[in-house]
C-alpha cells in the first residue's frame, strides 16, 4: 500500500467502526440510476436552489432589510439626494459599489427564474408520463408544495429591493389579503404592522425569504430526494425493462460524474446569462412611493398567470348588509388558484379512483397511451397559456397591433372555450398516434424502395420493425373499464349507485383506445 492508500484506509476504518457506514455505502455506491434527458429537469431545479442559497447568502451580507427613510448619497448619480428606504439604497449599493454585487444579484434572479421553470417542466414530465402513480404520490404532493412555496418565495424576493415595481406588487398582495371576507382588514393590518405600506413589511418578509421558507425548502427537498432514492427511479419502457427491475448506470462513478458535472453546467449557464442579460434594473424604476407607478409593470413569469387572471376578471362586487365582497379579486386571486392547486395535489388519487388501479407502477407511460390524462394536461396548459397571454396583454397588444380590449375579451371567452377544445384535440391526437403505432408494428415502416409485382403493379417495400421496437410500442397494458354495480336491486345504496355510474362512465372514457397488436396478429402476418 502507498502511504496515501494507508491514510484513506485508516480514515474509512475510523468512520466505519463508529457508524457502520461501509455496508450502507457499498450498497448505495452501486445504486442504479436510469438515464434519460427528461430526468435532468428535477436536477436543474435542485441545482438552481443551491445557486440561490449561495448567491442569496452573498446578497444578505450587504442587504439592509429596513424601510427606514434615508437620503441616497451613493455612486449612482441620477438618484443622488433622493429619499428612499434603506432596503432600496442598499440594493443600489450592492449593484454599484460592491464588486461582483450586480453579478450576484443577476445570478440570484436568473437562478430564481430557472428554479421555477425547472420545477414546472419537471412537474409536467412527471404528470404526462404518469410517474406520480403509486407508490410515488407523496413525492407528487411534495412537488406541488415546492411549486407553491417557490411562487411565494420568488414573489417575496422580488419585493425585497423596495423599488417602484416591487412596491406595486406588494400593494396588490395587500389588496388580495384585504379582500378576504371578515378577516381581511385584520390580516392586512397584522401583516403590515398597521396601514399599508408601514415600515414593518420588508423586515418581516426578509426573515421569511432568507430563513423560514429556505428551511422548509431544504426539508421538503431532502424528503423528496430520500424518497426517490428509496423507491428507486421510474424508467421509460423498452426491451429488458420491467416493473420489477431498474436498468441504468451505477451511481459511482458515471452517474456521480454526470450529475456533479451537470451542477457546474447549470451554474455556468446561470453565470453566463447574468453576465450578458440584464434583469430587474431596479435603479431605473426609482424608490417605491404609493402615489406613483411605472408604466407596463410586469411581474416575473411565474406570477404572470395570476396577473392575467386578475386582469380578465369581470368587475363584480357585492355590497350587502354594510359589507363588501370583491369577487373581482377573490375569484382570480384566491378561488381559481385554490381550485387549480388543490386539484393538482389530489390528481393521483382522483386518477386511481377512476381507473380502479391500485397497483405499483415503475414503468412510465408514453403520453399517447394515456389519452385522457394527456388531454387533461393539455387542457390545463391551455388554461395557463390564456392567462399568461392576458397577463402580458399590454406587450401582446403593442407587438401585434391589437387593442387591449380585444385581447381581454378574447381571454374572457378563451379561458372557458379553448381548454375543452384542447382536451378534445389532444385526445384525438393520442388515439391517432396509437393507430400509427399499431400500423408500423403490423406493417413496418415504408422503406422508400419500390417493387414491381409480376402483375406489373408497383408496391412499396415495408421494412418490419425489430423485435425491440415492436416491444417498445406494444408493451403497455390495455385494461378493461371498471365494472361496477349500477342497479340498486342488489341492495346497493342509492348514493353509491350514482357514484358508481359516474365512475364507470369516466372509466369507460379512460379506456377508449386503439387496440394494440398482440402476438396472434403478428403470427398472422408472418404467415403471409
Amino acid at each position: 500500500m502507498t502511504s496515501r492508500q494507508k491514510t484513506a484506509a485508516s480514515v474509512a476504518n475510523y468512520v466505519d467502526e463508529r457508524t457502520g457506514a461501509a455496508a450502507w455505502m457499498k450498497k448505495n455506491l452501486t445504486k442504479v440510476f436510469p438515464d434519460h434527458w427528461s430526468f435532468m429537469l428535477g436536477e436543474v431545479a435542485l441545482y438552481s436552489f443551491i445557486i440561490l442559497l449561495l448567491s442569496g447568502t452573498f446578497l444578505s451580507l450587504w442587504f439592509d432589510p429596513s424601510q427606514r427613510e434615508v437620503l441616497y448619497q451613493g455612486d449612482y448619480q441620477p438618484l443622488s439626494g433622493i429619499k428612499m428606504s434603506a432596503a432600496y439604497a442598499s440594493t443600489l449599493h450592492i449593484s454599484f459599489d460592491i464588486r461582483g454585487g450586480l453579478l450576484m444579484r443577476q445570478i440570484h434572479h436568473w437562478a430564481a427564474l430557472l428554479f421555477m421553470a425547472a420545477i414546472v417542466a419537471h412537474l409536467l414530465r412527471v404528470f404526462f408520463t404518469g410517474a406520480f402513480r403509486k407508490p410515488r404520490e407523496f413525492n407528487w404532493i411534495i412537488g406541488v408544495g415546492l411549486l407553491t412555496l417557490g411562487i411565494v418565495e420568488g414573489f417575496l424576493g422580488y419585493s425585497l429591493p423596495d423599488d417602484l415595481l416591487s412596491g406595486t406588487g406588494i400593494r396588490i398582495a395587500e389588496a388580495i389579503i384585504q379582500a378576504l371576507p371578515v378577516v381581511g382588514s385584520y390580516l392586512s393590518f397584522f401583516a403590515f404592522g398597521g396601514a399599508f405600506p408601514g415600515e414593518a413589511f420588508i423586515p418581516r418578509i426578509f426573515t421569511v425569504h432568507v430563513l423560514l421558507l429556505p428551511g422548509i425548502f431544504l426539508a421538503l427537498i431532502t424528503v423528496h430526494l430520500m424518497l426517490v432514492w428509496y423507491q428507486k427511479h421510474t424508467q421509460y419502457p423498452g426491451p429488458g425493462r420491467t416493473e420489477k427491475n431498474v436498468v441504468g448506470y451505477p451511481l459511482m462513478p458515471i452517474y456521480m460524474a454526470k450529475a456533479g458535472g451537470f451542477f457546474f453546467i447549470v451554474f455556468g449557464i446561470t453565470a453566463f446569462l447574468s453576465a450578458v442579460a440584464s434583469i430587474n434594473p431596479i435603479w431605473l424604476y426609482g424608490p417605491y412611493t404609493p402615489g406613483q407607478i411605472s408604466a407596463g409593470s410586469q411581474p416575473d413569469w411565474y406570477m404572470g398567470w395570476l396577473d392575467g387572471l386578475v386582469r380578465m376578471a369581470p368587475p363584480i362586487e357585492t355590497h350587502a348588509f354594510g359589507h363588501t365582497i370583491s369577487w373581482n379579486i377573490l375569484i382570480p386571486g384566491l378561488i381559481v388558484p385554490g381550485i387549480l392547486f388543490t386539484g393538482m395535489a389530489l390528481y393521483p388519487f382522483i386518477e386511481s379512483w377512476l381507473t380502479g388501479d391500485k397497483r405499483e407502477h415503475h414503468l412510465l407511460d408514453r403520453p399517447r397511451n394515456a389519452p385522457n390524462r394527456t388531454a387533461l394536461g393539455a387542457m390545463s396548459l391551455t388554461f395557463i397559456l390564456v392567462t399568461l397571454l392576458n397577463g402580458g396583454n399590454d406587450i401582446v397588444a403593442t407587438h401585434f397591433s391589437l387593442t387591449i380590449n380585444q385581447i381581454m375579451w378574447f381571454s374572457r371567452f378563451g379561458i372557458l372555450i379553448l381548454p375543452p377544445i384542447a382536451f378534445v384535440i389532444t385526445k384525438r391526437l393520442c388515439l391517432s398516434l396509437q393507430r400509427a403505432d399499431r400500423d408500423v408494428v403490423l406493417h413496418g415502416v415504408e422503406s422508400g424502395t419500390l417493387l414491381r409485382l409480376p402483375t406489373g403493379e408497383f408496391v412499396e417495400v415495408h421494412t418490419p420493425l425489430t423485435a425491440e421496437q415492436s416491444w417498445t410500442l406494444t408493451q403497455h397494458e390495455q385494461r378493461p373499464a371498471l365494472e361496477l354495480p349500477e342497479e340498486d336491486n342488489h341492495g346497493v345504496a342509492r348514493g353509491k349507485v350514482l357514484r358508481n355510474k359516474l365512475r364507470s362512465r369516466m372509466s369507460r372514457a379512460a379506456v377508449e383506445e386503439v387496440t394494440k397488436p398482440n402476438s396472434d396478429d403478428m403470427k398472422e402476418i408472418e404467415g403471409h
Partner: protein, 330 residues
C-alpha cells in the same frame, strides 16, 4: 375492446454497444486530452475572473455588439465565472461519457409493502404500546390531554397578536378635511385654478401642518389627481358638478381595484387608465369604470377655492379610497 391478449414477447436488453474509446487507444487518448483541455480552460476562466475583479474599474462602460453599452467589470467577471464553471461541468460530463465504464446494470425492485408477518407484529406492538400506556382505559387522562394539547396551540397564535394594531376605522380615513389646501406633488406649493390649463393633469396632496411629516402611509391614501376639462364636457349629477370647480375635477389617485396609482390620463378620450390591470375610468362621468376589473369609480373629492383663491377640499372624501374591504359599506 380486447384485453388479456397475449403480448408480444420482450426480447430483453439489447446488446451493449461499445464506444470508440473502449477499444481504440487513440480515441481514448484523444478523449483524455479533450477532458484535460476543458479543465484547463476552466482555470483560465478563474484567472479572468480574478484579473477583472482587481483591475477593471467598477464604472467602466464599453460598447459590445448586440449588448450595447455594457458595464465592463460586471461583464468580464460574469464571463470569467461562466467559463470557469461551465468548463468544469463539460469536462466532467465528457469524461463520464467517453471514458467511464458505461455498461448498463440491472437492479431488481422490491415491493414496498412489508411482509404479512411483519405487519401483524407491528400491529401487535402498536397495540401493546397503547395498552401499556392505558390510553383506552384512562379516558380521564385522554380527555384532559386532548384539552391541554388543543389549548397549548393557542399560545403561539396569541403571541402573533401584536404584529399590528386593529384596523378600526383607519381604512376609511384620509388626511383630507374641510378646507385642506391642495398642494403640488412634488413641490408642496398650493395651487390656484389658473395654474391648470384645460386638458392639464396634476398630482396633489393635502397640505400638512408645519409640524406634521408626510409618510408613505399618508400618500397611499391621500394622493389625488386634478384634471381640468371644459365645464360643458362634464356629464355629472348636479351634486357632483357642485364638487368641481371651474372645470377642475379631483379624484383619488389610488385605484379602486387593487390600489395602484392611476397614473395615465389620455387627453383625447378623457380616460384615466390604471397600468396595473388596465381599469379605465371615464373622467367626464365621475370616473365611471368603462373597462377592466375595477368595480367602482374612483372616489371624487369635492373641491372649491378659499378666500385667497387657492384650491381646497370642500369636505373629506365621502367614501373610503383604495381597494375594497369587508367592512366597507358601499
Amino acid at each position: 375492446m380486447s384485453h388479456e391478449v397475449a403480448n408480444l414477447s420482450d426480447p430483453g436488453l439489447p446488446a451493449h454497444v461499445h464506444r470508440a474509446a473502449d477499444s481504440d487507444p487513440k480515441a481514448e487518448k484523444k478523449a483524455e486530452r479533450q477532458v484535460a483541455t476543458l479543465f484547463g480552460l476552466s482555470a483560465v476562466g478563474t484567472i479572468l475572473f480574478i484579473v477583472s475583479y482587481i483591475y477593471i474599474p467598477l464604472d467602466l462602460f464599453i460598447f459590445v455588439p448586440i449588448l450595447g453599452s455594457t458595464n465592463a467589470h460586471q461583464l468580464s467577471l460574469g464571463l470569467g465565472l461562466a467559463i470557469s464553471l461551465l468548463c468544469i461541468g463539460l469536462g466532467a460530463v465528457h469524461w463520464a461519457k467517453t471514458l467511464m465504464p458505461d455498461n448498463e446494470v440491472i437492479a431488481q425492485r422490491h415491493e414496498f409493502r412489508s411482509p404479512e408477518s411483519e405487519r401483524k407484529e407491528f400491529v401487535a406492538a402498536a397495540k401493546e404500546g397503547a395498552n401499556a400506556a392505558g390510553l383506552g382505559r384512562r379516558s380521564l387522562i385522554k380527555r384532559s390531554l386532548g384539552l391541554s394539547l388543543g389549548l397549548v396551540g393557542l399560545s403561539p397564535l396569541l403571541l402573533l397578536r401584536d404584529l399590528g394594531p386593529l384596523p378600526g376605522k383607519e381604512l376609511e380615513k384620509t388626511s383630507w378635511k374641510t378646507g385642506t389646501r391642495l398642494v403640488t406633488d412634488p413641490g408642496n406649493r398650493p395651487i390656484k385654478p389658473s395654474d391648470l390649463e384645460v386638458g392639464a393633469v396634476a398630482q396633489v396632496l393635502p397640505q400638512l401642518n408645519p409640524d406634521e411629516e408626510r409618510t408613505l402611509n399618508n400618500i397611499g391614501k391621500d394622493a389625488v389627481l386634478l384634471i381640468r376639462l371644459r365645464v360643458e364636457d362634464f356629464q355629472l349629477s348636479p351634486e357632483r358638478l357642485a364638487w368641481t370647480h371651474e372645470g377642475i375635477i379631483a379624484f383619488s389617485k389610488i385605484c379602486s381595484h387593487m390600489g395602484c396609482a392611476v397614473a395615465l390620463y389620455e387627453q383625447q378620450t378623457k380616460h384615466l387608465l390604471c397600468p396595473c390591470h388596465q381599469s379605465t375610468f371615464d373622467v367626464p362621468r365621475a370616473a365611471k369604470v368603462i373597462f377592466g376589473p375595477a368595480a367602482r369609480p374612483l372616489p371624487q373629492l369635492a373641491i372649491t377655492v378659499d378666500t385667497e383663491g387657492y384650491l381646497v377640499a370642500q369636505k373629506p372624501f365621502t367614501e373610503p379610497v383604495g381597494p375594497s374591504f369587508w367592512e366597507r359599506s358601499s
